[in-house]
């Protein structure tokens, strides 16, 4: 699809539309978890999707992840300025929580810090005051909890 986007002008519009339909609604939810300003998510969405489609051929060669994970990491890297802010290890109150409500406080803090802000295991271990294996364990437990609700 990506090569078609860059090399085949006639297929381009259709492919962009397909990509947009698949991932555009997921991205504002994700951006909302990082960016505090409510006016900005649409601007970020346009900027991220545009540059993603533009840069994606290079990424496609390097990246081993599926489209959404690739796009999520790309968005996270583009929003580094916002993600790098010394956040309070608390999910943003206006966040569309969805399955996050299934998690206990600690799991929610760990999951959000990693998912939205890309915090490392070692950083979280130091910030929360526990060892790295506990952080890994809590991360796995929180993902498992949310996965179970979708039947997996």
């Amino acid at each position: 699809m990506f090569k078609a986007v860059s090399n085949n002008p006639s297929a381009e519009s259709k492919d962009i539309r397909w990509f947009y339909d698949q991932y555009a609604p997921m991205l504002p939810g994700y951006i909302n978890g990082i960016v505090q300003d409510h006016q900005k998510p649409e601007d970020h969405l346009v900027a991220i999707l545009t540059s993603f489609v533009k840069d994606v051929v290079i990424l496609q060669e390097k990246c081993r992840l599926n489209n959404w994970l690739q796009l999520r990491q790309y968005a996270q890297s583009k929003l580094t300025l916002f993600a790098a802010k010394d956040h309070q290890l608390k999910p943003h109150p206006s966040l569309n929580k969805g399955r996050l409500d299934l998690l206990d406080d600690l799991q929610k803090r760990i999951f959000c810090a990693i998912y939205y802000h890309g915090k490392s295991v070692s950083y979280l271990a130091a910030a929360i005051g526990c060892d790295e294996s506990e952080i890994r364990n809590q991360l796995k437990l929180s993902i498992d909890k949310m996965r179970r609700t979708s039947g997996n």
């Binding site: 998510p41 999707l49 991360l139 796995k140």
Partner: protein, 164 residues
């Protein structure tokens, strides 16, 4: 089984969350190649992460798609303009190994105008200047020769007169 332990270790989760170390990434990639069960579990986790993101999705404003399409077409227009600017240079570099005849055939078939490499400008100038120099030399030597002939003729007359 060993592989089940690895699947349960949380390695896959750190990988899909994008916080795995380079060593862990390499481990995941080799396990993915080696064990179909690991590959399957990883793909399922990636899919579930997508489903999870869908559950937290927010519908973007209706105008977003047209904004993105407009941005992309702007970028492409700029790229095409850049490509058109650099195309002749690219063609020149590309055809370094090709024959000169091959290089100009397409141009001749498309129009009556002939495109010539810029380097030829200096050759033409040099030929023109040399042509002028040769012409000046030719005139100079012609006049010199004519004068010399006249002097010889006069000297011969003088000599004849002296002999008499």
């Amino acid at each position: 089984m060993e592989i089940n332990k690895i699947i349960e270790s949380g390695l896959m989760e750190t990988y899909v969350m994008g916080i795995a170390t380079e060593e862990e990434v390499q481990q995941v990639l080799s396990l993915k190649k080696e064990y179909p069960a690991f590959k399957e579990a990883l793909e399922l986790l990636e899919y579930d992460m997508e489903v999870l993101a869908q559950s937290m999705s927010i519908e973007p404003p209706a105008s977003t798609l047209s904004k993105i399409e407009h941005e992309i077409s702007e970028i492409q227009r700029r790229n095409q303009a850049l490509q058109t600017t650099f195309e002749p240079e690219y063609r020149q570099e590309k055809s370094n190994g090709e024959s000169r005849q091959e290089k100009y055939i397409q141009v001749e078939s498309e129009s009556n105008q002939m495109r010539v490499n810029k380097a030829w400008k200096w050759v033409f100038i040099a030929v023109f200047v040399l042509g002028k120099v040769f012409l000046a030399c030719a005139i100079y030597f012609y006049l010199e020769n004519r004068q010399a002939k006249e002097q010889i003729k006069e000297l011969k007359i003088e000599l004849k007169q002296k002999i008499r």
